[in-house]
Subunit: 336 residues, 2 copies
């Protein structure tokens, strides 16, 4: 994994899957059943450590990603966050500048210290050949949740701030750039070897707004992080960014690019950065021949470029674990 991120193209690619620790695994559901809330899982180091390790034991992935959620940052900033069963995340939405002023960027580590403990646990528990990935949500994506009060279909409220009250929106983004950089720096201090920035809603912005609210904050965040940890790779994942992937790769300073399912490998490898992705998770729901063929197509599409095999989106909860086993065998037996 670390060689791929340093630009080496191996004979067989390193492999992990977004949302590899989660509901599709019976051993995860067994633990989750006894825990009152999803955030309790994230803030209880023994539990978060255990569920992070589960897919490593079962599938032997080359990387473990910290079990957590991008919304621990708003939670740590003092915004109320909860996960309603079957409904996704909910937040008491920010309504005005006073709500932004009430956020507490200097107090985040208090809430987040159990996450750092989980990273320390994992750093000890993982086999030396398994890379430990820390992560955070990117400022634009986290800001949409903070303003919309959850996920959204059209992002009209967040866009209204971003488009017509850019100074107010900038104040929120600035807080998130700083807090997120501090959060990732502490994850590395605790033992994370790579960090990934999830910009799940990067794809809803027109080009000019993409530059202002995705590229610009990501560039600053990467620079703040690099000032402390210059050698730690950053994987940027601007999901849905389409054509804007190119500017993101060229300008933000990330080490590698996570590709969503729609991006052609042949196109993305032209950016000159290592890439990660991008099998459609719908294929592992089905499994079988079509999955195997599609996984090979993904790997073939990257040509001679260094890459990390992954999905273009998280594993779906209804995925049969044995399909993942078959996928791992497919990737392990492929040769460049």
């Amino acid at each position: 994994m670390l060689s791929a991120l340093s630009g080496e193209a191996a004979k067989t690619p390193p492999l992990w899957l977004m949302r590899q620790a989660g509901r599709f695994l019976p051993e995860y559901r067994a633990i989750r059943a006894d825990v009152p809330s999803f955030l309790d899982m994230c803030y209880t180091p023994d539990l978060a450590t255990e569920v992070t390790l589960q897919p490593i034991r079962r599938f032997g992935f080359d990387a473990a990603i910290l079990f957590s959620d991008i919304l621990v940052v708003p939670d740590a900033l003092g915004q109320e966050v909860w996960f309603a069963e079957g409904e996704g995340p909910k937040l008491v939405p920010l309504r005005n500048s006073a709500d932004i002023d009430r956020l507490q960027p200097d107090a985040i580590h208090e809430t987040l210290s159990p996450v750092y403990q989980t990273v320390r646990n994992l750093s000890k528990a993982l086999p030396s050949e398994t890379t430990l990935i820390g992560f955070a949500g990117a400022p634009w994506t986290v800001a949409t949740y903070m303003i919309e009060g959850g996920s959204s279909r059209d992002f009209f409220i967040a866009k209204s701030w971003a488009y017509s009250e850019p100074e107010r929106f900038q104040a929120l983004i600035d807080i998130l750039v700083d807090a997120t950089a501090q959060y990732l720096i502490e994850q590395v201090n605790a033992g994370a070897e790579v960090v990934q920035l999830f910009d799940s809603w990067a794809g809803v912005l027109p080009e000019k707004m993409f530059r202002r609210w995705v590229i610009e904050p990501t560039t600053r965040l990467a620079a703040l992080f690099r000032a402390i940890h210059p050698d730690i790779p950053i994987i940027g994942f601007p999901r849905g960014a389409g054509l804007n992937y190119e500017a993101y790769a060229a300008e933000t300073g990330v080490t590698a690019i996570g590709l969503d399912t729609t991006i052609s490998g042949a196109w993305a490898t032209q950016f000159g950065l290592p890439v990660q992705g991008n099998l459609d998770p719908a294929y592992i729901l089905c499994g079988g021949e079509s999955m195997v063929a599609a996984a090979r197509r993904v790997m073939d599409s990257f040509g001679d470029a260094p890459f990390i095999f992954n999905l273009g989106h998280g594993v779906n909860k209804d995925t049969p674990p044995e399909h993942v086993t078959e996928l791992v065998a497919t990737v392990r037996s492929w040769r460049r």
Copy 2:
């Protein structure tokens, strides 16, 4: 509008807005309040005619688009379709090949004849300078609704068919290609001067599947339509297609391309086709300076290419109509 579609770049662009007839207009809501169901609106020519004309009277747009819905085609094929208030469209989902075999492609015109009557009414009622646009959903998008039973977040069921049971999925797509071509041909027979194909979910497919389930069916559909109406322009709108817009423009045979909000005008005009779009509808929720600047930016981005001003997505229901008035004034006063 017709000159722009024939490749002439006018001093000021023609202008209409997707979902210009709809809930953001009080005169629409007044009519809708007395009608039991949304499909009744679509199938009652007097009502559908009236609400199609409302935005023309209020804003003087250059084109009127038939008031209807892309799901009248599954309804006409015999699938049960209804619109649950506030929940979006619902269908009894297709489950197997027997469900596909039960569809009745030869009987669609019976259900759709009120739509053709609406088109005839509009053809008479509209001022001669206002272009009448007919439309349909593209096969891939309509198929997702038919299989998922409504809209979807991840399209896992539709993708499972498309990826792992391509023969069964092809049977459904073939029915939709034929039925949709016949439907559009009849709209033109009734007086439509332009047709638009909405492929709202084109953006969720990996490249190879985009070719197979978006480009290939659209190409066949366009050819069937052109065999009868060679001179009627077709606007293709593969929303979210990102980089795949280029192949869509080059290969499907559509006359012009509808751009979603994320597509750069400077890039899209390189395809050599007239373009339509693509202001983010979030701007007209806010109105004011930011909207005016963004609308001008959209027009400037098209350079010397022929274009039709529009949104990149439908008008949101909470849009103040006076913001649309201001937008119209902005577009009318812009000069190339």
